[in-house]
Symmetry: C3
Subunit: 280 residues, 3 copies
């Protein structure tokens, strides 16, 4: 019964919304271990929540339950779901916030907005429809407290997912940004996230780099008007503006002793280009 339940929301820290959800969980499973992932997601920013969640959930023990409430469609027809993967359970609105999780098990086509769950891929999804596991009164504006939290709590007491509703065979996704090659051979990625240090986390992962760019000195990075030669190994060994492969295997742009975001006036969605360092 001492399952771990994590929480990711856009509720901020100035209200008691997160606490109300925790109170509901503990009323159902007093032994649940509650761990905050992040509550500072921008209001209703599903893509940011999806990314931030994906950088942490893989480091939790098997069968952790991840409760995600970034839910601009609360009270509308959007579904509430449980997604069971081989590693963990997710309780969330069906609005794309699990896109990065789903793509670990399935190839998401570009421009898709629904993803079929292929048999054998190890994913099982349930629409949360049975009110017996909800609070007795449901606010149309706060399903996090009245539906998602009690469902996560019952799930942590080993109620099987199928008891919460019917299986669904596809889920809402957004196209997870992937870098693409430009005609001149340049690899073009984008900024996905800016962290607390002002580091720019891009969509470029190490397996995106073609073999010819696998040597750290073989590539050059261009962002805005700035050019960075080669990859640094760590923040400590780089100088000034640098690029490196960050702790979740995304290429990052970082500024020694400062904020790359402020220095470059860069924002989420900005382009980052990688090309082969010209020889001689």
């Amino acid at each position: 019964m001492s399952a771990i339940i994590t929480l990711t929301t856009d509720f901020g820290l100035a209200d008691a919304y997160v606490a109300a959800m925790k109170g509901v969980v503990l009323g159902i499973n007093p032994e649940a271990k509650l761990v905050d992932i992040c509550h500072s997601i921008q209001s209703q920013n599903i893509a940011q929540a999806a990314f931030v969640l994906s950088t942490a959930c893989g480091f939790f023990p098997q069968r952790t339950i991840h409760l995600v409430v970034v839910d601009p469609g609360v009270g509308t027809e959007r579904k509430a779901i449980i997604l069971r993967t081989p590693e963990a359970d997710f309780v969330a609105p069906d609005n794309g916030v699990l896109s990065y999780i789903i793509q670990r098990y399935a190839t998401i086509p570009a421009a898709a907005n629904r993803q079929p769950l292929e048999p054998g891929a190890g994913l099982e999804a349930i629409a949360i429809t049975r009110p017996q596991f909800w609070r007795s009164t449901i606010s149309p504006t706060f399903h996090g407290r009245d539906i998602f939290a009690p469902v996560a709590a019952h799930l942590s007491r080993d109620v099987p997912p199928v008891d919460f509703g019917e299986a669904v065979d596809s889920l809402t996704i957004f196209p997870v940004p992937h870098p693409h090659p430009a005609p001149d051979g340049t690899l073009v990625g984008h900024i996905l996230h800016i962290d607390n240090f002002g580091n720019l986390i891009t969509s470029i992962k190490s397996h995106d780099l073609p073999a010819v760019l696998q040597r750290r000195t073989a590539l050059t990075i261009k962002i805005g008007n700035e050019t960075i030669s080669g990859l640094s190994l760590t923040y400590g060994t780089g100088k000034g503006l640098m690029a490196l492969m960050g702790s979740t295997d995304h290429l990052e742009i970082s500024l020694k002793g400062g904020s790359a975001s402020t220095f470059l006036n860069a924002g989420i969605g900005d382009e980052v280009k990688i090309f082969r360092t010209s020889s001689k």
Copy 2:
């Protein structure tokens, strides 16, 4: 011994004051489950703390202990109290921060600033006066750490309230804002709280609406120069500026995809008026 202790303070998140309180609690009851309600209350804003606490405490299990340290009078003659209700225990300064809790069990007259505890109302209050349950050294500036935290921890180990000091028969309150009818029949309420989404939470609850306004389309809301027709059911179904009954049964003003607070330049204390939608 695995009682839940919640914490509500104006200590912010940039210092270690909250952590020091948690350390003290765990030194006395290692099994206590600590849950943060909110630490971003504006400095010494008793009314805000009282409201935020009231939106969460009812969702915790029976006999949760709520530790509240918003305490501008620390070190002065203001009392420290335990308030036991049929549902929970509160450990707080006697400065009005429990006004919303007390009014659930007693009618608070307008303009009152002390509330007698009527026998039979189910409320029991104790002045915290016996140092045997405090830290051995008391800082005159941090009773949260040296008095309130250890008292909450001992209480969580089933020390009865009467052991901490003498019963008191009245408590400090502030008049909880209630909407009032204007001569023209308009119902006049005020903004109590602005949440992380910029939603304006007002003093108007559903039972304040006269029968004639109980239909959602029968009423019109006026705030500043803006007029809103009818109540929406959810954030997702409303459009632009909307009004709805929020998750703690307070009428809220919300802006689809934005902050109503910024859009309206509205602040705590601003008036919100409700009147009957004129027919034809």
Copy 3:
């Protein structure tokens, strides 16, 4: 196995870095009790982290493990260490962030930047060098998650410090600021920290005050162009700008109902002078 592990970082609250560390800890010791001390340390501000940690760690139970990750040198040759004191264990980079802890057991000479660990002082330090207690893959940019967190978790399961690496006989420190007497007899200290209320926490402790200044009315405080007569006992009894001995025994400058920091436009490092109130 239900040891307490605290966390102090400069990771902020907008990312999932802290959560990833907690996930790693719970994967190794599911019974660990995780308590946040502070995650809002300014980026790479070792001195601030050292001070904030020092204001809370003494209030935790014996043998609490304090995990501190403010680590500008991550991935470079700086050591990772375990420091065992008679009260607690610290897991941190060897970059000075434990200076206030070390000085409780040893006199740190002015201008020193390494501190020998004297036999008999009760301090034992280990360089973390054995990868068997780390995650199997180490990101060069996030030792907090891949080295410090798993080491703290194994330590909480009673793995002895010596199993993690070799004893070291000195640690990196920075000179902890101490007040000094000026030629005219004035005591000169500095602002170490500004808290959430705008209180200015100085380097002056009660034992720094010479006997002649031990009476609260016998001294005058000068900061910028302002002069404060005598010490107040509490925030509640003082008026306007006041000075008092704060809850961690540091002299503080506080403004009743406001922020002394904003009022005085004062910052970390600014001078605060104390002199004897001239008689008659």
